[in-house]
Symmetry: C2
Subunit: 350 residues, 2 copies
């Protein structure tokens, strides 16, 4: 057989997500929330009328957009929802980054940005963060085809101020600036307050981290109505019906339980600060974290070795064998019990 | 404000799905199944442990691929799953149609094909079906960048034989041929039996029609392992985690209840043939249908007028105001009760 069809296969280098081990381990490698979703979510699924599954979901996802609009003080026309923030970011890249000029993002950041740019053939330039892993905003005051950065940034955990974000948005009126706020609820201040003042700002958030719903796949973007309409046009050119009936329903219920949301976020932040101190006692140094993870390096023991030693003890953290950060570990904040076991394990390793 | 960012927005003409009316109507416009999903699906959701939602779903969707592999007699490496067959087809277009030569599809077919081609800037050529709306296979024996057609075709409802499909696949060893079998279970014979013999054949099916799960968003493709790997590489370059925990679980349960699946499919086929006769008595002419819908034209009354008159009576069918088919209605097969009401309404209209 000729197999000539092979030459037309799209060449890609896919993103590699953190391992999802099938057996029971202490899983601190994909920044999931250690606490289950709100009881309202459990209840909504128990009461879910599966008969409705015979019908397509609302392609406009209005019920969920309404809940989010109300929660954040916007109108539904300011809200786009998708199958996790990866879906939302992917649609945003395809919608807004169609210039011949390169888009800009930090060299150390969520590694999916370059994957999407490659996939959609978007030219890009990685801008080095400084030696303390801080984004230098002045580097983004130049001609470009768009800007995307995570705030707090990952895997560095560092958060910049709203003023910092505003400066970048203000200096780039000709480009869409996407701020990926996947981790914002764990200590940062969101740029959502800028949305009504800057029509080129798109803020992306997710249910996967602070709302304990990674398994339900819900992400959203908030921006001015024109940005959101453009994203919806592209979404309706890919897949009319993205979020399924159960996601739309359970997602709305999750947002309504604000008290639970705040209490679990607080628990994670408290655990994080306690663990940071324990790590420092063991010779680790961590960046200041506004996320549900710590970015840690050890004074003497190489990160790669610690990663392997922990894995042998069935404790999974994330290690990126990449320039500049290959001596760091990204450690998700689990329950207090899980983190105690991590600390005990590290005591024998380092 | 400059709004110069607007010039870089991707220009698209999105697909327009059939209306999803919020109020109670007789809904025969989006080819949904009138029967609820299997009780196994209901049970799986009732027993669903929502705690697992805190974790990402398996990015490889293995549990569902295993169930499908077993059901259809393939290996998991032959199965790709996505968020409805639209997601699967969209990924397939992006993965396989990267030639400078045009891809080919019928002029009358699922209107999303040209939307994806436009979105991904794939050159394409629409090949007219004949005056009886039949695809002429010889038209596809020419140099091309890929082929896609629905079998049974939509909205014509006409199904071609496996030999017919094989001829097209065999004559095009240099191109990937995608056969969109969304409606195959309602009377056609699937091309799945050809997959092991032709490495350029991709068969796409869905849970949205015959499995009563439009609201859950599950579609799949079956093809040789190299095709599936290429699709997964692209999928992992867009969104690592697509199907959520509840879809993976409930989807598998749906497939396991083969008896229920066969019984509802049979009911729909029986209703379809009964309705066809009633429509013919009223002066309609229908194509031969191997789907869960009828494609009907009336001897004297224009389709557009019938469509509007039915809508006034809260009966929604689909009308495409497009060349060649603008005097046809696409009528989804509902329950016997719904179809009786349709026939009664038509009696007063035509």
């Amino acid at each position: 057989m000729s197999q000539a069809w092979k030459k037309n296969i799209r060449k890609v280098v896919p993103y590699v997500p953190g391992e999802q081990p099938k057996r029971k381990v202490i899983k601190l490698n994909t920044n999931e929330n250690p606490y289950p979703p709100s009881e309202k979510v459990t209840l909504s699924l128990e009461q879910f009328n599966s008969d409705c599954l015979k019908l397509y979901p609302d392609p406009d996802c209005l019920s969920l957009r309404q809940v989010l609009a109300e929660y954040y003080g916007f109108s539904t026309e300011n809200i786009f929802v998708g199958v996790g923030s990866d879906d939302v970011l992917s649609v945003a890249f395809m919608t807004f980054f169609n210039s011949d000029k390169p888009i800009l993002f930090p060299d150390i950041t969520y590694s999916f940005y370059s994957v999407w740019a490659d996939l959609y053939r978007i030219p890009y330039r990685k801008i080095p963060v400084d030696n303390d892993f801080r984004i230098k905003k002045e580097d983004y005051y130049c001609d470009n085809g768009g800007i995307v950065f995570a705030n707090p940034n990952a895997p560095t955990a560092i958060c910049e101020s709203v003023d910092f974000v505003e400066d970048i948005v203000k200096k780039n009126p000709g480009a869409v600036v996407i701020v990926d706020e996947a981790y914002i609820d764990f200590g940062g201040t969101s740029a959502l307050g800028l949305v009504n003042r800057y029509d080129n700002l798109l803020v992306v958030q997710t249910f996967s981290k602070s709302r304990s719903m990674a398994g339900m796949r819900i992400g959203y973007a908030i921006g001015n109505a024109e940005l959101i309409k453009a994203m919806n046009d592209v979404k309706f050119s890919i897949n009319s019906y993205t979020l399924n009936q159960s996601s739309l329903y359970a997602g709305g219920e999750a947002v309504k339980d604000d008290e639970y949301f705040r209490s679990t976020v607080k628990k994670i932040v408290d655990t994080r600060e306690r663990v940071r101190k324990s790590l420092e006692k063991l010779g680790f140094c961590c960046t200041e974290s506004c996320t549900n993870f710590l970015f840690a390096t050890h004074a003497t023991k190489p990160a790669g070795e610690i990663f392997e030693a922990l894995k042998e003890k069935d404790i999974f953290v994330r290690y990126f064998n990449l320039p500049r950060i290959d001596n760091y570990l990204r450690i998700t904040i689990g329950t207090d019990g899980e983190m105690d076991m991590l600390i005990e394990a590290l005591k024998t390793i380092v």
